[in-house]
């Protein structure tokens, strides 16, 4: 991996963005669609910085993964409420059509997927960690890629599953896409799996795939730590595992 430094790089601009639509995904997670004139597009898995400005000029900036498949001029974010937080309560509770904010990006060149990558893909999501992985699932189906994609998604209860209907539909209509859900606090009445945190039997071994997959793990830090440990124990090469952590512990 070497990149030559040639002419001085240009600073990444802030783009004015307008809220085009917003809806609740769960009681505490909301999807916000942003119209961003000039947005150059992104790779599935990348994130943006979002800047909010109060009327006296005070600003706060936080990072959010892009949930939508790559496209220009438009971005979709999904934000989980952090009750005492500064930025997420506005995005989850306040944002409505016509509101203005700023975004900058795309950022993150490692935790990303595109159709030039031929390997099978294993996606492991904890809670709102599903957001950048959903961008990959959406992009895969948009471009008609066919390699195996296996999403293992851990949520507290079925009510906490973000994109629940779309995942259900995609898993039935996209050949090679498998979606497994698991619940840490309580599942559906006919669930075979006992509720609980991620266990070794919840994740596929490396030889469950026709070729070793690229693995993307995203969620709270404790979840990522546990999942990565299990994956290595099941034969996945640590160099094939890419991680992204949202927020602090557990």
């Amino acid at each position: 991996m070497t990149v030559a430094w040639s002419s001085p790089p240009l600073p990444m601009p802030w783009y004015p963005a307008r809220v085009e639509d917003a809806w609740l995904e769960t009681r505490t997670a909301r999807t916000v669609v942003l119209d961003v004139p000039g947005w150059p597009g992104h790779h599935a898995g990348q994130h943006v910085d979002v800047r909010l400005t109060a009327d006296d000029g005070y600003t706060a900036t936080r990072t959010y993964s892009v949930a939508s498949a790559p496209e220009t001029g438009r971005l979709v974010l999904t934000v989980q409420l952090v009750t005492e937080g500064e930025v997420s309560p506005w995005l989850v509770g306040e944002a409505r059509e016509g509101d203005e904010l700023e975004v900058r990006g795309p950022i993150g060149g490692w935790f990303r997927w595109d159709e030039s990558m031929p390997e099978p893909v294993l996606l492991v999501a904890g809670g709102s960690g599903v957001v950048p992985l959903m961008a990959m699932v959406r992009h895969r189906s948009r471009v008609g890629a066919t390699q195996p994609f296996h999403l293992v998604y851990s949520a507290r209860t079925p009510d906490h599953v973000i994109y629940t209907n779309e995942l259900f539909a995609l898993a039935r209509t996209s050949p090679g896409l498998r979606v497994d859900r698991l619940y840490t606090r309580g599942g559906l009445p006919d669930e075979a799996r006992e509720p609980g945190r991620l266990r070794p039997e919840d994740l596929p071994a490396v030889d469950a795939f026709p070729a070793p997959p690229v693995v993307y793990v995203c969620g709270p830090s404790g979840f990522v730590e546990a999942a990565a440990g299990i994956l290595i124990g099941k034969g996945h090469d640590s160099g094939a595992i890419r991680t992204e952590r949202f927020g602090p512990s557990s």
């Binding site: 600073p11 900036t61 306040e94």
Partner: protein, 202 residues
């Protein structure tokens, strides 16, 4: 200021002059890394130092612990916007590490820090000298936890924390700058939190 976000007031817990622009105060200690946490045992840990002339030296865990340790109380700043104030560390000054490795710094202007797992990050040599950088092995009075880079990480608190390579395994002296892992993936080559040098071109 042209864009105002309707209804946003902000928490404004900031205001502490020790918090750089664009950062917020964090009390937890978030973990960020590109891949799984490597397990490096102290018995296996070594730090390889290479000079621009091809010379090299190697320090084991025991070698490192024969050098004078320093207690460091400092603020740290992550490019993902959090800052932690008054963290305490114990480690060995990088200048002492370089001289113990027996590798001269003549002709070197930059250093590429290497870490177990293949991570790299580049820094000007001057930023590692003069008592501003350490190879840290303890955090808040205990051995450094693996997810925070244990057994040993670089500690360069005046730059964004991705420069403080976790699981540090090598210091490669260079006659010119050469971008590391995140620096090739769009992050700033220097990373001064006070100038908000987050991304390439900032």
């Amino acid at each position: 200021m042209d864009i105002v976000t309707r209804g946003f007031v902000g928490r404004r817990s900031g205001g502490d002059p020790r918090i750089p622009p664009g950062q917020y105060l964090e009390r937890d200690f978030p973990v960020l890394s590109a891949g799984p946490t490597p397990v490096v045992r102290r018995e296996d840990w070594t730090l390889r130092v290479t000079g621009v002339d091809g010379s090299s030296g190697r320090l084991s865990w025991a070698d490192l612990h024969r050098l004078p340790v320093e207690d460091v109380r400092t603020d740290i700043h992550c490019v993902t916007k959090w800052s932690k104030l008054d963290t305490s560390w114990r480690g060995v000054d990088v200048e002492a590490v370089l001289s113990a490795a027996g590798v001269g710094t003549e002709g070197a202007t930059h250093v590429l820090a290497h870490a177990t797992g293949g991570y790299t990050t580049n820094l000007p040599l001057a930023d590692l000298l003069g008592g501003r950088a350490w190879v840290a092995t303890e955090y808040e009075g205990a051995s450094l936890a693996a997810e925070h880079g244990g057994p040993a990480r670089l500690l360069v608190p005046h730059l964004y924390f991705w420069k403080s390579a976790k699981w540090v395994s090598g210091l490669e002296l260079l006659a010119q700058d050469s971008p590391g892992f995140w620096e090739q993936l769009g992050y700033h080559e220097y990373g001064d939190p006070w100038r908000e040098q987050r991304y390439v071109g900032d």
